[in-house]
């Protein structure tokens, strides 16, 4: 029986490198390695590359603790992001006891990454992208359990935002 080996994802920096800079390697691990699901692979790669391109996001990565479940209803796929000690381990499926659970569809999930981050580091829910997320919540296309963990939610939003 083949046991998948976890693999670490390296964020790739496409911008021209100065002689003094080195590509950043972020601590994102696919627990199932080459058997990671498409969703796990996509979320892990997006996170690793986003943190590599925006080193300020590594503060959020270091401060996050606990598990976050993302359940993509139209794909019938789930992924668990386990944050601990500055490392995100991406697991296929629902694992552990997530303190935050997001249930949404694939289009809304992509929309979540389009949320802009405001000057105070807070997600901007009043511009066009932010309002789309609010509409998804009101319309039931985005359900979040564990809203009391608002700091975790904001950090995860910042980590995955590609608009900051």
């Amino acid at each position: 029986m083949h046991h998948p080996r976890p693999c670490q994802l390296a964020g790739r920096v496409d911008a021209p490198q100065s002689s003094s800079s080195i590509p950043t390697v972020t601590d994102v691990i696919l627990a199932q390695g080459d058997q990671a699901s498409g969703l796990a692979s996509m979320m892990g790669t997006l996170l690793a590359q986003n943190v590599a391109q925006h080193p300020a996001k590594s503060t959020d990565l270091r401060r996050l603790r606990g598990d976050v479940l993302i359940d993509v209803s139209d794909l019938q796929e789930q992924v668990t992001l386990q944050f601990s000690g500055g490392v995100c381990t991406v697991q296929n499926g629902a694992v552990g006891r997530p303190k935050v659970r997001l249930r949404t569809d694939s289009a809304t999930l992509m929309g979540l990454s389009a949320v802009r981050i405001g000057p105070l580091g807070l997600p901007n829910y009043v511009d066009v992208n932010g309002r789309a997320v609010i509409r998804a919540m009101v319309g039931g296309r985005l359900r979040i359990k564990g809203m009391r963990h608002v700091a975790t939610l904001n950090r995860v939003t910042r980590l995955f935002s590609v608009m900051s």
Partner: protein, 139 residues
Amino acid sequence: MAYDAYSPEWAQAYKDEINKSQVYKQAAAGWEGTVGLVVLAEPDKNVPEDRGIFMDLWHGEARDIRVTTREEAEAAQFVITGPYSRWKQVAKKELDATKGIMLGQLKLKGDFPTLVRYTKASQEMTECTTRVPVNWPDE
């Protein structure tokens, strides 16, 4: 008029379709980069060899789209790879390309944050594919 799948004539028609699209022009206004599509062979569906499609896209315009080898397509900044039958599903609107990537049915290589920023543009590119009539080799 229908075009043979992944022929030079199909590539030209696809390019024309993209350049006709005001939605694409607007959504991809800031896009700079090349995209390669790799169509993996399925001999039982009359696609005996891997194919490549190389797309030079610049600020809302398709400057060049051509049928190439797999290797040439893989030299693009963004590469999406999948078997012929998956690409056919995309072209027939039976599979959303983004969902295909999330499900691991299509493999993406490149900068994900950039692609997420241009989700609408990539959706419109898929729409453009569906508007080009195609003669499929297995039909």
